[in-house]
Amino acid sequence: MTTTGSDSTRVGPPPPFDPELAAALETMTELPSSITADLIPVMRAGMIGRDATTEELRRGGAFEVSERPVPGPHGDIPLLVLRPAGTTGLVGAVYWIHGGGMVMGSNRGADSTKAFDLAHELGLAVVSVDYRLAPEHPHPVPVEECYAGLVWTVEHAEELGVDPERIVIGGASAGGGLAAATTLMARDLGGPALAAQLLFCPMLDDRNESASGRQMVGLGIWDRTSNDTGWTALLGDERGGPDVSPYAAPARATDLSGLPPTYLDVGSAETFRDEVVAYASAIWAAGGDAELHVWPGGFHGFELLAPESQLSRAAGGPRGPWLRRVLGL
């Protein structure tokens, strides 16, 4: 990525990090703000062995855990299924898409913990999809796999003990972008009706030109360079060009009507701030239903990296109540 003369809009200095988050970030010197393509293998290697074990996923018997590969357009897609133990009737479910900048992560990764917590708290099942990653599998492979996994889940809902009318799609970071894209695809293709979408600090815009992106260069987590790396892995030379599909980058969508109730959150001190705020505004402008939280001084993924902090506790607070309202629990 280069910062070119076209970025002529003046931006101010970066908003300050929340002091507690800044302190936590200070101790994570091993996490680079700027991830370049050559670092992808290093970052992937660093995540080996950090996935939740089945025993951890069971949460002391709260969930029954199973894995099943389901057929998809690019081969089998592994789905991880967590079902509240001891329930006999149909339960609602979160169809979950993990993050990792399109280039790393897994359906058992630490970034999924918050979603599993939420499902645990609300008595929902989880179906977590392990889509194939870029750059080995560029667009449209990831979104098509996410969509295929969703369709399979809805079609096999009763077999999973899930109420197909109460399926919530959600994702964090790249997973949030894929969740938004999968939702658009479901709307446009007459696919499954979703009860809600949860977009946690979602990665929505391949153009990578926002004020927030330019403010945070070299700072925090997943800066503008990292974002360029992720989008270029997914889209190659098409990144930022005129023909990028909204199913790759939902910020490209010109029509955001007809979406399910949407929950969005993001930190004020991260690359994605402006695209998330813009996406929420576009949903409202289209007459939709959205709840947006911008957490002041939050860097990307602050809940994952500093779960004990005041801001992480605050950010975790409104999700359960929102989902209860939306699902009528």
Partner: protein
């Protein structure tokens, strides 16, 4: 930050971990973080519950090892690691783990307290100890000293008190000192407390510890010193004791009762009163005095000898308390 604990404990505790602890609290201070993040930092960096107690300012904040704020369910266990907010003060920050402190814990206590001091004075106002320091310090602007005096509940006039270990106190006009060893300054308008403080420190040098080696009254009022105060300036550190002081010392090392006896005689209105104070028979006192006068080489029973004795005792205290 769960990971943080693991990462810190995996590091060489003497090097890497300490650096990260310092960096962590430096950033909190830089960002003007409140008390809760400071206490949470202490908890998550050590992996055990931490609590900050400042009863003067009504603070009792406890954060468990996962970073959640959880009220205390009992008083701190005295065996837990702790450190005071100010030297000599009561324990303020506790880590709910028995000692001894490892290098990371020691560093966390030190840095967290330093951060907590700043957060406390910013969010709860200065500690009474800071206000006391302010009213006694001539370098602090007078309006700030008057505000500090009002926060301390002093009236228009007050006295400074010098205590052991360099500690300071102030007394409102109607208060009396509670310490066993203290120098009490004169009652002055609160704006003049720095001068009362200087006099109190001088008075403290004349105050006895109340031990066998340093018998006598422990509380000395500056405005009762009279001309003795002039002596204090003459006896600085390293000053050579006059022969009478050496003689006192020799008498004390020869007879353990000698010094207490001489101090009682010097401070009593009659030998009979002195005997009663010492709880010895009048004739015993007479025998002892005869013996000690031989050691000293002068009589302590005539007026000139009594003055000489009083000066020697006062000079000895000045040599012992700088």
């Amino acid at each position: 930050m769960e990971d943080l604990v693991g990462r810190l404990s995996a590091l060489d505790p003497d090097a890497g971990a300490a650096v990260k602890v310092i960096a962590y609290f430096d950033r909190l201070v830089e960002g003007r973080a409140g008390l809760e993040p400071v206490v949470r930092g202490a908890a998550v960096l050590t992996g055990c519950a931490a609590r900050l107690v400042d009863s003067d300012r009504g603070v009792d904040l406890r954060v468990d090892g996962t970073g959640a704020v959880r009220p205390s369910d009992g008083p701190p266990d005295p065996s837990w690691l702790n450190a005071p907010l100010h030297p000599g003060g009561p324990p303020a920050l506790w880590l709910e783990r028995a000692g001894p402190a490892g290098p990371v814990e020691a560093m966390v206590l030190e840095r967290a307290l330093s951060a907590a001091r700043g957060a406390l004075s910013r969010t709860r106002g200065p500690a009474p100890a800071d206000d006391v320091a302010a009213v006694l310090d001539a370098a602090v602007a007078e309006p700030a000293r008057r505000r500090a005096a009002r926060r301390l509940g002093l009236g228009p006039a007050a006295r400074a008190v010098a205590l052991d270990g360099g500690r300071a106190g102030v007394l409102a006009a109607d208060q009396t000192v509670a310490a066993t060893r203290a120098g009490v300054g004169p009652l002055v308008p609160v704006e003049d407390l720095p001068s009362s403080w200087a006099a109190a420190r001088t008075a403290l040098r004349f105050a006895a510890a109340g031990t066998e080696q340093d018998p006598g009254p422990g509380v000395v009022h500056a405005d009762q010193l009279g001309g003795l105060a002039v002596l204090a300036a003459a006896v600085g550190p390293g000053a050579e004791p006059v022969p009478d002081v050496r003689d006192l010392e020799r008498a004390r090392s020869t007879a353990p009762w000698a010094l207490a006896t001489l101090v009682a005689v010097a401070t009593s209105s009659s030998l009979r009163t002195a005997a009663a104070t010492l709880v010895v028979h009048h004739s015993t006192l007479q025998d002892r005095l005869t013996h000690v006068e031989e050691l000293l080489g002068w009589s302590v029973r005539d007026p000139a000898g009594r003055l000489r004795l009083q000066l020697a005792i006062a000079l000895r205290r000045l040599h012992n308390h700088h």
